[in-house]
């Protein structure tokens, strides 16, 4: 199996994993709408269905999902992210714990609400309007009873710009598949390079996006790769025209 073939059926997306990644990276799917835990569960189900663990794809999956998690947490933390990055592990754990407890609190409260709602099943209210002659008794508010200042104040509130969010950190992190594709293609002109060369010194997000760009190259028949042992060097080869196929089938599974 290849990871991209992992089929997902989620609230906001249904289709193969690689398409999901592409849509997230192109910002066509809002990462905040995506329950990453569901993606992990789908993957575990898939593994269980196969009955064996393919280390290579498992590693790939972990790298990609970790990248998504990191990206998502950045999105969620946004403006106070800088401070959080400076936290020591203890403080970070406290912060995370507080958030987990809060989420759990309201998840339990929602269960309670569901029970209240179920207890009221079968209760109906009359919705017929009162008779016309009684409705006529409803008085119109007096002339001049509203203050125009209410309208001016509303416009004032609407004119207020939201505080500017610092994008400094995120924008330095932002890396697109297109960029990584062109980087890989440059390297490919040599015929062959190692994955380590392609991502040397880069952050994890860039590594993840590079993996994705590599998958894209493979899909388009421009490259194939080879890894002789787990966690060993990954050698990426350009596909000479005319020999698409055979060696790919052998090495990219």
């Amino acid at each position: 199996m290849t990871l991209p073939a992992l089929d997902l059926d989620l609230d906001v997306f249904s289709g193969p994993f690689d398409l999901l990644l592409a849509l997230v990276l192109r910002e066509e799917i809002d990462l905040l709408e995506l329950e990453l835990a569901d993606v992990v569960l789908a993957y575990l189900d898939h593994l269980e269905g196969r009955g064996e663990l393919d280390l290579e794809t498992a590693t790939e999956f972990i790298v990609l999902i970790a990248a998504l998690l990191e990206l998502k947490s950045r999105l969620m933390l946004a403006d106070d992210e800088q401070e959080l990055l400076d936290l020591d592990p203890g403080e970070a754990a406290e912060e995370l714990l507080e958030r987990m407890l809060q989420a759990r609190r309201f998840r339990s409260a929602s269960t309670h609400l569901q029970q209240l709602f179920a207890r009221e099943a079968g209760v109906r209210f009359r919705s017929a309007p009162p008779a016309a002659h009684l409705r006529k008794a409803i008085p119109a508010p007096a002339d001049g009873s509203e203050s125009p200042a209410v309208l001016g104040a509303a416009i004032g509130r609407l004119l207020r710009m939201p505080p500017v969010i610092s994008l400094r950190h995120i924008s330095t992190q932002r890396v697109t598949v297109a960029e990584r594709l062109s980087h890989l293609r440059t390297l490919l002109r040599r015929g062959r390079f190692s994955f380590e060369e392609a991502v040397h010194g880069e952050d994890r997000m860039t590594v993840a996006v590079t993996v994705f760009a590599l998958l894209e190259l493979y899909k388009r028949g421009e490259a194939w790769w080879q890894q002789d042992e787990s966690f060993g060097e990954i050698a990426v080869h350009a596909v000479a025209s005319g020999r698409v196929g055979a060696s790919i089938g052998a090495s990219a599974g």
Binding site: L32, L75, M76, A78, D79, E120, R124, R126, S127, A128, P129, P130, A131, L134, R135, A137, I138, P139, P141, D143, G144, S145, E146, S147, P148, A149, V150, L151, G152, A153, A154, I155, G156, R157, L158, L159, R160, M161, P162, P163, I165, L167, I170
Partner: protein, 218 residues
Amino acid sequence: MSGDEIASDAPGPAGAKPGPALDELACTIEALLFLAPDPLTPQELADAAAVEQDRVSDALLLLAQRHAPGASGIHLRELAGGYTFATGPESEDAAKRLFSRPRAATLTPAQAETLAIVAYLQPVSRPEITRIRGVSADSAASTLLERGLIEESGRSQFGAVMYRTTSQFLKLFGLNAIDELPDVAQWDPTPEEEAQLRERLLRAGEARAGGGPAPASE
């Protein structure tokens, strides 16, 4: 829990007749007549309760006694070939007082905002209002239309309905003409900005609607 029915042993007043007890079917028919906005025929009642029509007739007899003038404030009426509940003349004065009490909260925050946008920018389209507010203004706009405070005024070049305020609006706010609206300057957070009010409102609205990458800022 207080959502439950309340009960007590208060004795009934000496003179009045309690009317007959209701069986299960009569209770069901009573519930249906209470819920339905229009009269229901015996056939409709029989179908809903899944019983024969003559059993419905028996139940209606019980209900007619229970809901007779003097025994209840809700009367069973036969109207247009069907049955319905209605209140009688003896409670009309109280009903008129009930409906004529001044209503609290004349404008909700969403309505005030929508009305302000229409008042200051008119004519303005619904999509524009939504862009400025950052959230839908549909139900607020519908209520304002119903209350006669805004009205349609043609269509934009893209076919969206445009709104303007009405003379009813001027009366409610004690204005002689729309140019008597107060100058926004005193509420303007950045009065030094030169651009048109409309343009500035749209820009702020779009910034609120997610110019940023995240739900940050709260």
